[in-house]
Amino acid sequence: MTAPTGTALDIAASVRAGERPATDVVDEHLAAIEARESEIHAFNLVLAEEARHAALAIDRRVAAGEDPGPLAGVPVALKDNVCTEGIPTTCSSRILEGWRPPYAATVVERLAEAGAIVIGKTNLDEFAMGSSTENSAFGPTRNPHDTSRVPGGSSGGSAAAVAAGFAGLGLGSDTGGSIRQPAALCGVVGMKPTYGRVSRYGLVAFASSLDQIGPLSRTVADAAALYQAIAGHDPRDATSIPEPVADVSAGLAEGVAGMRVGVVTELCEAEGIQPDVIARVRQAIDALEGAGAKVEDVSVPAVVYGLTAYYLINPAEASSNLARYDGVRYGLRVDAPTTGEMYDRTRTAGFGAEVERRIMLGTYALSAGYYDAFYGKAQRVRTLIIRDFDAAYERFDVLIGPTAPSTAFPFGAKTADPLTMYLNDVCTIPSNLSGHPAISIPFGTGDDGLPVGVQVMAPALGEAAMFRAAAAVEAAAPGGEDDA
């Protein structure tokens, strides 16, 4: 998939140098959107006017000799669960249809400081619950590589927008793999930072102890640059890490000679992994070894309990986070004679099936008499997973495995049974539970010609090593830009 205007870093460089006006960049991307958006439906809302306005301001700064920021002029596709002031933020749900937040998320402020331009709010699975974007209340997004197939989820819109060249960069959120899995299915780079590394202030909460905002891009270097721009302590987020952000871009090209790379047995052998996906992962591993990395298999035993722990923790937290949608202060209200009935009718009309399912599951897992067996137990299993990862990171600098068990699947293929859909997250969930950073890098295609992603994981605050290894994987990827 060839991007109309080069990498994000290319765009920023030419805008900063005054070689290319940001307004031209925005117009080109709007044209790309115009050409294929009706087919793809990556966006809930395209912000043409706002983007042109922002581009003008960037060009004025450049003309005045001011620094317009490291990502000047780069259009960004922003997932529609991130609050934008005065601009609808719907989470692809009827219950928030038309809601305009009176404030902006911290990452949105940081994008503006970096000179990046939000070109639209992208589609997602409702409230970020899903792995295919089929749960959106406003219709699914289609995979640009094959529009009969899903783009993955829940950040399907952002992944598709980047893959289709609608934006130079994307931002998504990842709770169980919602950035990395759609990145893999759309053939782009997608990264989840260490939990707490990027502020959650302004990210509509799904599962608070798992959610993180992260970049989607066409290259690893672009992802590193966007990560650099948004990462860092935020006093408005109490779970935000105080440590300063290391420069992850500087050492990108250093290579992996001497780096200890562990191949996670349990992930490579996980349920339902397509053999052609594994083949690509092996290819990537061989390439790293060829580049001087020390590669070995490693077992992270508790990882096999990841799905279970995740599907008890995420719904529990979500059931509480979504209690506020009740028709009183904002969003949808269905009138009724009493407030109690108003709650019931509003929530029932406003939430889709998957959201209801998770709220029910979560409420049950927290309910009297069941807490210890379900939520309580899941939190202890989470500790086991963290311990096993910590043990692995004593011996390895990074870990590697598949991102998703399959390539992009057709619409409706996995909607009959929720459990089938949940299995899409088996390889990505463990790093959400551990809070460790992880990235998916496109690496060739499957037998069906559809993109495959390879996942690199690192310990907490290990983004520098992670990006470096990712860059090496990218360098060895078959086909390059023309592999469509």
């Binding site: 933020t89 608070s208 509480s320 209690a323 309910s367 807490y371």
Partner: protein, 485 residues
């Protein structure tokens, strides 16, 4: 399970004992709310002190107010609690005054545990189970509702109060009477004020009390308890406890069980009533708040809090009582401390003022503005003038009021008012003059006509411009009569 009586035998004549535990919610006196920088202020226009956080808007996150923690710890230490590592928890339930439909509170691991409070009256110790931090809700007001189908009314919600920091203080069920309960709340209030943790005004809602009441026969296990809400004053608290205890006793004596429930105190009717019962009890589904990290103050922070603790009411009472040579539960002592006049009293006593008179003034004559600024040596001097007979008690009260208002010294004020110190010789001279001027009446008085006393006292009062001390005059007259007779 304690069956220790707080005030000795409190069983009624029929052998029943009332057991009371109190849950007090106190608004902490911070400048801003618990999790955001909105002002913590009462009485502003609705929904003007709100932000994404206290409104619970999608995407908002709480961040803990440091001062709320300090005040919570200060109050905890003042109650001799152990300060522990604590976490926050979500209490999940739906109600329109709850912006998130969960309240951030503390459940499993509260910040303060295992404290104690001594009742000023009896000196009995009441255990404090815990004192934890939580956020307040908004306020909803019901409007209209004429009872007709089409006029069911509606509710209006103001979130200014949502997110205000609260300290919930839970006592052990150690109280045994309505008096004890009132005494507990009074003392707790005094401690809250002394530590600056809260302005603790029941009328303004910055101090809210719920009572858990049950009855049993001493020696038997505690009975089923009922929670009483809507107690807006100390008087309501006392009345409600007494009503509820009687209600439960009547039930049990007529063979009915007491149902565990929440009851609402109706001030006008003077009774508790059941709130509309729900089919199912609330299931709050508590779990640790993922958006807030644990609180572990550590020895240093605790030591700083301890160092900053003010002298507490109990200690102030015993210091004053010792100096005055009276028991610590003497009403005048309690009043002196309550009105913050104990330092004044101590200093006046140290300056030589008679303790009993000092306390009398504090108890009866100093409930006036500016009393705390009174010069203690002035008060001591005033009291000396009483002791020497220069001023009557009534005169002293007048002089005192002027002292507070003007800051002048008592001698000057007495002189200005014409309350001249009438020396014993001076008075004797006037008495002799009056005797000399009224020989006939004097003869009859000496002969034994007691009622003539009144005539002479009146004449002496006139001659001295009413400045003579009546007792001294009578004494002198009798003396002269005895000498003459």
């Amino acid at each position: 399970m304690s069956t220790t009586s707080t005030t000795g035998t409190t069983a009624t004549a029929t052998g029943w004992e009332t057991v009371i535990g109190l849950e007090v919610h106190s608004e902490l006196a911070t400048r801003t709310k618990l999790f955001c920088g909105c002002p913590n202020r009462f009485g502003d226009e609705p929904n003007t002190n709100v932000c994404p956080v206290c409104l619970g808007l999608p995407g908002s996150l709480p961040v803990l107010n440091e001062q709320a923690v300090t005040l919570a710890m200060r109050l905890g230490r003042a109650l001799r609690c152990e300060v522990r590592r604590s976490i926050f928890a979500r209490k999940n339930y739906f109600y329109p005054d709850m912006p998130k439909n969960y309240q951030i509170s503390q459940y499993d691991l509260p910040i303060n545990v295992e404290g104690r409070l001594q009742l000023p009256g009896s000196g009995a110790i009441v255990g404090i189970e815990r004192a934890h931090i939580e956020e307040d809700t908004g306020k909803s007001t019901h409007v209209g509702g004429g009872g007709r189908i089409h006029d069911a009314g509606y509710s209006l919600v103001d979130y200014n109060r949502a997110g205000v920091p609260l300290l919930e203080i839970v006592s052990k069920p150690d109280l045994r009477s309505a008096d004890d309960a009132r005494g507990y709340v009074s003392e707790l209030r005094a401690i809250l004020l002394a530590t600056g943790a809260s302005d603790a005004k029941m009328e303004e809602g910055s101090l809210r009390v719920d009572a858990n009441v049950s009855v049993h026969r001493p020696g038997e296990p505690f009975g089923t308890r009922c929670e009483i809400k809507n107690l807006n004053s100390l008087r309501s608290l006392g009345r409600a406890i007494e009503y509820e205890a009687r209600r439960q006793i009547e039930l049990i004596e007529s063979g009915e069980p007491v149902r565990q429930e929440t009851r609402h105190w109706n001030e006008d009717e003077g009774r508790t009533g059941t709130l509309r019962t729900k089919e199912e009890a609330e299931d709050y589904r508590y779990f640790p708040e993922p958006d807030l990290v644990p609180l572990d103050p550590g020895d240093e922070w605790i030591a700083r809090v301890d160092a900053e603790l003010p002298v507490l009411p109990a200690e102030r009472r015993s210091t004053l009582a010792d100096a005055a040579g009276v028991a610590p539960n003497t009403p005048a002592v309690a009043i002196a401390v309550e009105r913050r006049l104990d330092r004044l009293a101590l200093a006046a006593i140290a300056a030589g003022g008679d303790p009993a008179r000092v306390l009398t003034h504090v108890e009866h004559n100093l409930a006036i503005e500016g009393a705390d600024a009174l010069d203690p040596s002035g008060l001591a001097a005033l009291v000396s003038m009483e002791t020497s007979g220069e001023l009557t008690a009534t005169q002293a009260k007048d002089v005192l009021a002027v002292m507070v208002a003007s800051g002048d010294d008592p001698a000057a004020i007495a002189k200005a008012k014409g309350y001249e110190a009438m020396g014993a010789d001076q008075l004797a001279a006037v008495v002799d003059q009056v005797i000399a001027a009224n020989p006939d009446q004097w003869g009859r008085f000496v002969a034994g006509e007691a009622k003539v006393m009144g005539f002479f006292v009146g004449e002496v009062m006139r001659a001295t411009n009413r400045q003579a001390d009546g007792k001294a005059v009578t004494a002198l007259l009798r003396e002269r009569a005895a000498a003459a007779g």
